[in-house]
Structure formats: C-alpha cells, structure tokens
C-alpha cells in the first residue's frame, strides 16, 4: 500500500532523514518508535510532502510516487495526516473544522460521514458549536483525527497522537485509535510510549537518527528487550 525505500529528506540544507525503509499493507497498523528528534515526524512529512523535501529514495502509495506532489494531491489520493501539533483551525467551530475536508465523492473507498465521525467521538458532537481554539488538548486531538477521517483516507498517519496530553485523555485517544483499527483503518502511528503499541500495533519500526534500524511484529519487539534498551531508554 505505502512503501518508503531508502528515503533521504531535508529541511533546506539540513538533512533529517538518512535512509528510511518501511512498508504498510492494507488493514495494518504500524508504529514508528524512537526517541524524540530521531526523524519520526520527518518521515510522516516526507510522505505527505509537507515542508520537507525528499532528496533521495522512493515514496510510493499504491504504486504511485508521491515525491514532488503537492500536499493536497497526496491527501486526495487517500492519505490522511494528523500532524503532531494537531493544528486545528483555532477560530473555527468544531463543526466548521470538520467541514474543511471535501465532502464525500469517491464511493469506491471506505468512507466516513459526519454522523459516523460523531459516533466515534461523541464529545465532539456535544461541543460541535464550540470554537476549536478554546478546547482542551485532548479534544483538539480528537477533532484533528476526526477531521482527517473526513478526507476519506485509505491510510491514516498519526504523528504522536497523545503527546502533551494528560494520561486519562491520552488513554481516550488510544481508545479511539483502537476503535478505528477495529473499523479496519490502515494506520501509521509515531510513538514514544510503549504501552500504546501493545494495544493497537501490528508491526513496529524503530527509527534512530534518521534511519530505520529495526522492524518486526509487536511480539518480536517485546521478545527483544535489548531493542528498547538500545534505542528508547535513557542509558
């Protein structure tokens, strides 16, 4: 479905990715893990062509190269993206935020309607007339995910979905992710927190300093604690 081969990417002159390899098959949930600053967000951005430029390697989605595309065209191909800082439209209401993505047209995909999204995130329905900017971080995160679902993605990229959230709220976000997985949504999630991975991931990629250094199933990951020690712990 999505594959990255030896991707090198940079912001201006500063290279942030030095060789990322990964692949996702339909229906799969993949976690990218690694300490902060190792290139997880940059990997996501190099897929949606946001702010970063891919200088080498291949980024393909359903056989089509994404390199050099305009972001909105990538999104329209079916890649949903929830950026790490959420970026809700602060002056718009919740409902208005949800109306920014284009209305459903393509009937060939699994589509989401507004009602379905509200079913998934009931609080959003309760707050639908609130201004997004004054909502809590968790609510904003829900909104940001809901908004991306309405771009009717075949694959959803979630960048650190519960960064900076209170534990209880973060748990709710994870619940939502699990629910999405149950709906059969393919996802790529960047993570720092191990316990999320256990709840929803199928496979794991470990990123360190701009390079994918390990990949395997969740079970393999937990079977190899030295990976955790080497790439994630403070040691």
């Amino acid at each position: 479905m999505l594959s990255l081969k030896d991707v090198h990417a940079s912001y201006g002159k500063a290279e942030a990715l030095h060789g990322i390899d990964l692949a996702i098959t339909p229906g799969e949930v993949v976690c990218l893990i690694g300490r902060n600053g190792v290139g997880k967000s940059s990997t996501m951005r190099s897929i949606v062509q946001d702010q970063i430029s891919v200088r080498g390697g291949a980024v393909e989605f359903e056989g089509q190269s994404l390199v050099g595309m305009r972001p909105h065209d990538v999104i329209r191909l079916g890649v949903g993206y929830v950026p790490e800082d959420r970026r809700v439209f602060a002056s718009l209401s919740v409902l208005e935020n949800l109306k920014v993505p284009r209305p459903v047209r393509d009937v060939s995909r699994r589509t989401w309607s507004l009602d379905q999204v509200f079913e998934l995130f009931p609080q959003l329905y309760d707050y639908r007339h609130r201004t997004a900017g004054v909502m809590s971080g968790g609510e904003q995160q829900m909104l940001s995910i809901a908004r991306s679902l309405l771009t009717q993605p075949k694959l959803l990229l979630l960048d650190e979905p519960h960064e900076g959230l209170a534990p209880k709220v973060a748990e709710e976000v994870v619940d939502a992710i699990v629910a999405l997985k149950a709906e059969g949504v393919s996802m790529m999630i960047s993570e720092q927190a191990l316990h999320t991975i256990r709840r929803c991931a199928d496979r794991v990629y470990v990123v360190d300093r701009g390079v994918t250094v390990w990949n395997g199933t969740v079970d393999d990951f937990y079977a190899n604690p030295e990976i955790t020690r080497k790439y994630l712990m403070v040691q």
Partner: protein, 276 residues
Amino acid sequence: MLFLIASGLTLIFGVSRIVNFAHGSLYMLGAFFTYALVPLIAPGTVGGFFASVLLAGLGVAAIGLIFEVIALRRVYGAPELMQLIITVALVLIIRDVVRWIWGPNSLSVPMPDAFMGALLIGDNYFPIFPFVIFGAGLAVMLVMVGVIRFTRAGILLRAGTDDRGMAALLGVNEKLIFSSVFAVGALLAGIAGGLAAPYGDVNYLLDTTVIVTAFIVVVIGGLGNLYGAFAAAMLVGITKALGILYFPRLSMVLIFLIMAAVLLARSLGRQGGPSR
C-alpha cells in the same frame, strides 16, 4: 462603503499575505464599468442600477482573477516585495488603460431617479443616496458575513486564514483558495466602486485616493481582520467628519496619527523572540 473596500483588501491580505496596491484600481474599474453599464440596463431605475453595479463587480472580479492567475500566482513563493511590486505594476496598467478607454475627463453616473431627493426631518435634510449606499453596503456585507459564516467556501476561507498549510493537508487546493479570495476581494472593490459612482464624479485618479484610505482602515482594523476593518471604517469615517468640523487643516494628519498610534500600541502587545 469604506468597509467594503477595506474588507476586500483585508481578506486578500489575511489569506495570501499580499499587500494589494491595486485594490484602489479595482475600485475605480468598478466605477467605470458601472458608468458604462448604467445607460444600457433599464436606465434611471433602481433595479437597473443595482444590476449594473453587480455586473460591474463581477467584471472586476473576472479581471482580478485573470491577473491573479497570470501574474500573482507565480510569485507566491517569492519575497513579499515582489508581490507588492507586481500589484503596483497593475495600478499603472489599469490607470493607463482606463484613461485610454474613457478619457481623462471626470464622468458623471446618473443616480436612479428614486434616489435623487432628500428626506426632510424637521429642518434637517438627509440626502437619500448616502443611505442607499450605506444600506447596499450593509446588505453586501451581510451577504459576505453570511457566506463566510455559513458556507463551505467561507469555512475554507477562514481555515486558510488560520493555517493555510493545514488546509492543504486536508486535501484543499491552496491555489484555488488564493484565486477565489483574490476574485472575491476584487468583487467587493468593484461593487464598492460601482455603488459610490453616482454619488461623486468618476475619474481615472480615483485609485490613489481610495487605496491610501483603504490602507489606513485595514491597518487600524488589524491586517487580515474583517470585523476590525468594519470598526475601523466607522472610526475613520467619523474622524474625518469631525476632523473637518473642528480641525479642518489637520483632519488627514489626524487619521495618519491614529494609524501610527494603533500600530505602535499593537506592537507593545506583540513583542517576543523567535518561536523556537
């Protein structure tokens, strides 16, 4: 009236960060188009007048759109100064072409007969036409606010003002937003020019007068802030009227001083370092 012009300018700035020097020229084009259309569409009637103004506005919007696609679109990545110079070039082009077509004379657009007179309240005369302009301006503004508040186009526009990049990451074509915003800005300028045309004279130098005032309003209201523009338009209008009464020689200086003061006052609240 001032608000209509300023709102178009502020919209364009809000979304595309372009300081559009040609906005006054678009206003002027609206006035000239109206001049050309009024005799053709049911002359003298109220309906004919408004129809002419609307058509003129649409014509200006079309020209704005063409300009955006041909020229401005190519320089969105370039320094702001490039965009600015390009709009200055447009000012020169429009002014010369208008003079070419309509000549240098002051032209006069007839008012619809129904709006000619005045209301007599007690001893005071209140001319009808300014109320008509105000009413029509208000109507256009209400429609605008309606569109901006309640339609998807309006939502996209506001989303674009908030965070252009994110809108693109939700599958919205940025260029389409830019083009439509520029067209809408031009439409507003054109309608404003058309509505005001019968009240004063129409000549090819309207552009400069209008643009400076529009800048003042937009700056006082806060660049990119629609409601601010409305409040500022009122403030400037009232200041001008009062200034004429009490400090006839200083009214313009007064307005620029307000502008300077607003800018400086705002800067006090906006200090700080780099974001990271």
